[in-house]
């Protein structure tokens, strides 16, 4: 089932997009139910699907078993679908039943590459998220820098 524009508009991730841009994304995003314990992504596997959380709670784990949890609507999983080398950097597991929107990675990438304005807005958001999550991926926190990702979310 495709998502509707109103749902996309309510998500912080798409907040900067205009109606026309949302119209292009809506048919590509599909709704999916997830059950407790379901694995959405596996670390190291090809990043084929991009997810946006609508409800539920998720755990993302990275190397050395570092992890954080996502609890809010609009949090994303699978930014690796649009960033080289297109492999998931972490494993995402559903901690509770929930709902997610998903999009095929190739379609997402094509969309970003085809429409520069839309691509720019989305990549800005993704870059911000990557910079927040990167310490978990690399396992290195900056000197004196603390990452309060879990608190923020």
């Amino acid at each position: 089932m495709s998502s509707d524009i109103q749902t996309l508009k309510s998500l912080d991730f798409f907040a900067d997009l205009n109606f026309g841009e949302l119209e292009q994304i809506a048919p590509l995003m599909h709704l999916m139910k997830v059950t407790e314990g379901e694995v959405l992504t596996r670390k190291g596997e090809p990043a084929r699907t991009f997810f946006i959380i609508l409800s539920g709670n998720f755990m993302l784990s990275f190397k050395e078993e570092r992890s954080f949890t996502l609890h809010n609507k609009g949090n994303i999983i699978g930014w690796s679908t649009v960033v080289t080398p297109f492999r998931y950097t972490g494993t995402a597991i559903a901690l509770t039943d929930g709902l997610v929107l998903y999009m095929a990675g190739q379609e997402f990438l094509r969309l970003i590459q085809s429409y520069s304005a839309l691509g720019d807005k989305i990549m800005r958001k993704i870059n911000k998220i990557i910079s927040e999550r990167m310490p978990y991926v690399t396992g290195s926190w900056g000197k004196g820098g603390t990452n309060c990702l879990a608190l923020k979310q």
Binding site: E36, E65, T69, T91, A94
Partner: protein, 138 residues
């Protein structure tokens, strides 16, 4: 008997020394007291401000719940005993995936949602390095 003889005979010198000492000590004490008067005046001026501040902080204390005031549902409390044992076995700070894996292996019921409840109740809190610790204050 007159003059110095009379003074000496009646301890006049001792009495005058004591008298002088009393006067000087009193003067010193008085000057110390006077030098501190500005502090008393300051305190008097700030009396209202301090009272207001004290009242404000008391209200703030009543409004903000402390971590130890957080309530944990009973079912979560019951489950927490088993998970706490696992955490003690792993050691702190512990990786969340490891706790999940162990709890699954031990056959604990709904480990994913239970851990999620722990996180939501702040029974398990992140240590800001990607690992978690048991919140002893709850």
């Amino acid at each position: 008997m007159f003059g110095f003889e009379a003074i000496i005979a009646h301890d006049g010198l001792g009495i005058s020394v004591i008298g002088i000492s009393i006067v000087f000590v009193s003067l010193i004490l008085l000057s110390l007291a006077v030098s501190q008067i500005h502090k008393l005046i300051e305190l008097w001026d700030k009396k209202n401000i301090s009272y207001k501040r004290l009242k404000k902080s008391q209200q703030k204390d009543q409004k903000t719940p402390t971590v130890s005031n957080l309530t944990v549902p009973q079912d979560v409390q019951r489950a927490s005993r088993q998970f706490k044992l696992l955490i003690e076995w792993i050691g702190e700070p512990f990786p969340l995936p490891k706790l999940l894996d162990l709890s699954e292996k031990c056959g604990l019921s709904s480990p994913h949602s239970t851990i999620n409840e722990f996180i939501k109740c702040k029974l398990i809190i992140p240590d800001e390095n990607g690992y978690y610790i048991w919140n002893k204050q709850v």
